[in-house]
Symmetry: C3
Subunit: 136 residues, 3 copies
């Protein structure tokens, strides 16, 4: 069986944000054993899993991705929505739009240092919709 929960989160400033608790608080009923999939319904934001303890990691992620896919990259033509739009699409494909995590004993099977990141790649906040799916 698959149950879904839809949430609308943010707006978040451009950068990486830990949303593990936003996700887990949304799930009303946890199966003993299952899978959680979280899917972001956008093309200029992403979801991924990384370090949950030190906020400098979030800053460094932002720095790295800004350098990897900078604004005004030579040759880029899709700029109708501004110079941060196409880099945002690129970054969202690099981080991904879904995270899939086992549910073990009614809890997420994340490692000690793992958290779920929402990666906001646009400047100028909007709310972001996430569908959380519980498979059991």
């Amino acid at each position: 069986m698959v149950r879904h929960y839809s949430i609308s989160v943010g707006p978040f400033p451009r950068g990486f944000h830990i949303i593990t608790k936003l996700i887990t608080d949304t799930v009303a009923t946890w199966p003993d054993s299952g899978m959680l999939h979280a899917f972001i319904r956008h093309t200029s934001a992403g979801l991924c899993i990384n370090e949950n303890a030190d906020s400098s990691v979030l800053d460094d992620f932002k720095l790295f991705f800004e350098k990897l896919a900078p604004e005004n990259l030579p040759g880029i033509t899709h700029d109708m929505e501004g110079p941060d739009d196409m880099p945002a699409h690129i970054k969202s494909t690099l981080t991904g739009t879904t995270v899939s995590i086992p549910i073990v004993n009614q809890k997420l099977g994340l490692g000690t240092w793992q958290g779920i990141y929402l990666c906001e790649f646009r400047t100028g906040g909007r709310k972001r919709e996430i569908i959380i799916s519980i498979v059991d």
Copy 2:
């Protein structure tokens, strides 16, 4: 329950291609609630989710990935199949080989602007096999 559908698509020219309809047309029966996983059975092509409206996005993706993992990268040794082979492997890991999308009310829960991309990273087309799995 998990049902699979196998499809063979393409060949596609090197670049990014929207295949949402190829995927959805293949699924004979949609559950009210479930998950769709699409898995590409290749190591020089990928699947990801991104913008479905403006073809310039597809061109910009191609441009970005060609620059990120160019042919004839210094130090690369795996070139038996030509200079586009190892960059294709790298790109397929960066985009991913699986997309996982919730099924809500018998339809994919994609956002308004989201489509499924097949990313063809080789020059010289071949057909590509995709397994579509419906979990309900």
Copy 3:
């Protein structure tokens, strides 16, 4: 139904390693039809799917990722655990932490040339925990 298997693998040297057999040998019972998800419980190692035949591909992957996210990147501040730590976090998000593969006729539906990679991004080995989930 979802069944999980937990395994502890390695330590592996920094680089890319094929662990398909480690994964498949762990699964005691294969459903006729299902999904396998493998999830690594760490933030400085990753899982992905790529070429299983030529070890030069593994070396080239290592080379590419070292160049893409080198140590001592200007501006990086998270270096408490050494210069290889933050690049390891970045690389693990680029490769991903979960692989999702269809199970068809009691076997993984991998293509002929596909294998599961464990990507070890730290210098100095530790064991790595993976949760394998079988959905049927």
